[in-house]
């Protein structure tokens, strides 16, 4: 096990592909994406019941053990969600290496 940061991002579903590309560019070692979530935040209730997924969210989880990359990801994500809304949480975790 080695220490790492667990970055969790909630963003709207239509921007998932864009965020994934951004994470690739920023050097994230990988990510997991949970689709079709709903929620509430500053921009109101998002029921996830729309055909277009405009009011649907998704959750990205990124484990990253390189501090510099973490900082880069946080900055990159901040810029994205400043434009579109969303949430980004960073917490400490341990990564079990196989």
């Amino acid at each position: 096990m080695k220490p790492c940061k667990r970055i969790e991002i909630v963003i709207e579903q239509p921007l998932a592909r864009r965020l994934a590309d951004r994470l690739d560019e920023l050097g994230a070692p990988g990510y997991t994406m949970i689709p079709n979530t709903s929620g509430r935040g500053d921009r109101g209730l998002r029921r996830g019941d729309e055909l277009t997924d405009t009011f649907t969210n998704c959750v990205f989880i990124v484990a990253c053990d390189d501090e510099a990359t973490v900082a880069r990801i946080v900055e990159g994500v901040r810029a994205l969600i400043a434009r579109s809304g969303g949430v980004c949480l960073v917490s400490d975790s341990m990564w079990v290496r196989h």
Partner: protein, 334 residues
């Protein structure tokens, strides 16, 4: 006149729309699972596109048909321009541009419901109207975004310049546009032979699938209205909801007058004239919002989506279609 409205309101698809709305209003937990609702919408686009293509393959387009197509394209370009001119006095540039795109484009399901209204009334309509619908989906998106670039200030996260390739992809290759155009092409290529193979699927099931889809639309539309009324859409105080509601009813009426007059001037047959009018009056809640979230994330979807989905769409379905029909009849007979 009453009879047209009554016949419309008591058709099974409309009644299922009411049923869905009623379910949401009394807070029943009735719900169509999201993947199924998406499937129903894919089915409707597939079926209407394919049937339109087959119809197109049958008869050569005459001059009037071409004129109708041109008129459709003209409408799709003109509506967002005057919509933007009106809206930018009241709203921010991004929201005005987004609403211009929304109302300049069309709603395939409103169109589909109008065709099923015509079929029920035994009035013929031409397959090229499906082409007109497909033609009208994308231009307004491009125009809306260009208007934003022209008038808007650039935010911190945005690049300078327009990425035309992205823009083209997001407006013209949007999933629902792609499926209608593609199915129309396939219907056109396979013609009567294809229709023989697919008739039970795209023909006989159509009304039933439309009923289920409108059931879902009724639920979603009524939920949005409730959420708006309860201030749950994150719109803030001064959003001018009465103005938005008024716009979402009056602007389609105005566009219907414009489109209907053109149709009458061109001498289009009754069914085609009604469909062109309905296209003009309808606003997009599938193709345009999907494109706007990518191309114009600054615009607030809580404005443009509920307006087209929860106000304009039901209005056209319940009142608009028979009203436009009545007025067109009156225009022609006078």
């Amino acid at each position: 006149m009453e009879s047209l409205f009554l016949v419309n309101l008591t058709s099974p698809p409309l009644l299922f729309f009411f049923l869905g709305a009623a379910a949401a209003l009394v807070r029943s937990d009735l719900e169509i699972p999201a993947p199924v609702a998406k499937f129903l919408s894919l089915y409707l686009l597939f079926a209407i596109g394919f049937k339109g293509g087959v119809a197109l393959s049958g008869d050569a387009l005459d001059g009037r048909a071409w004129a109708g197509l041109l008129a459709a394209l003209g409408l799709a370009a003109a509506v967002p321009l005057y919509a933007f001119a009106i809206l930018k006095r009241r709203l921010g540039i991004a929201d005005a541009a987004a609403l211009a795109a929304t109302y300049g484009s069309i709603s395939a399901v409103t169109f589909v419901t109008a065709t099923s209204y015509l079929d029920g009334a035994g009035i013929a309509w031409g397959g090229h109207l499906v082409a007109a619908m497909a033609l009208m989906e994308s231009p307004a998106i491009i125009i809306g975004i260009l208007l934003y670039r022209l008038y808007g200030e650039r935010g911190p996260g945005e690049q300078a310049g327009i990425d035309w390739r992205e823009l083209g992809r997001e407006s013209c290759l949007n999933g629902s546009v792609f499926l209608i155009v593609g199915s129309m092409l396939i219907g056109w290529i396979t013609g009567q032979r294809g229709m023989t193979a697919l008739a039970p699927f795209v023909g006989e099931l159509f009304t039933g699938m439309l009923c289920l889809f409108l059931l879902d639309m009724g639920i979603v539309a009524a939920r949005r209205l409730r959420d708006m009324r309860l201030g749950r859409m994150g719109l803030g105080e001064g959003a001018g909801i009465p103005f938005l509601f008024g716009f979402a009813i009056l602007f389609p009426l105005f566009n219907a007058v414009v489109a209907g007059s053109i149709a009458t001037l061109l001498g289009l047959p009754e069914g085609d004239a009604l469909l062109l009018t309905v296209l003009g009056a309808s606003a997009s809640y599938i193709a345009v919002p999907a494109a706007l979230r990518l191309a114009l994330p600054e615009a607030n979807p809580s404005l443009y989506l509920p307006m087209s989905l929860a106000v304009t769409f039901p209005f056209n379905l319940l009142v608009g279609i028979p009203l436009y029909h009545q007025v067109l009849r009156w225009l022609v007979s006078s």
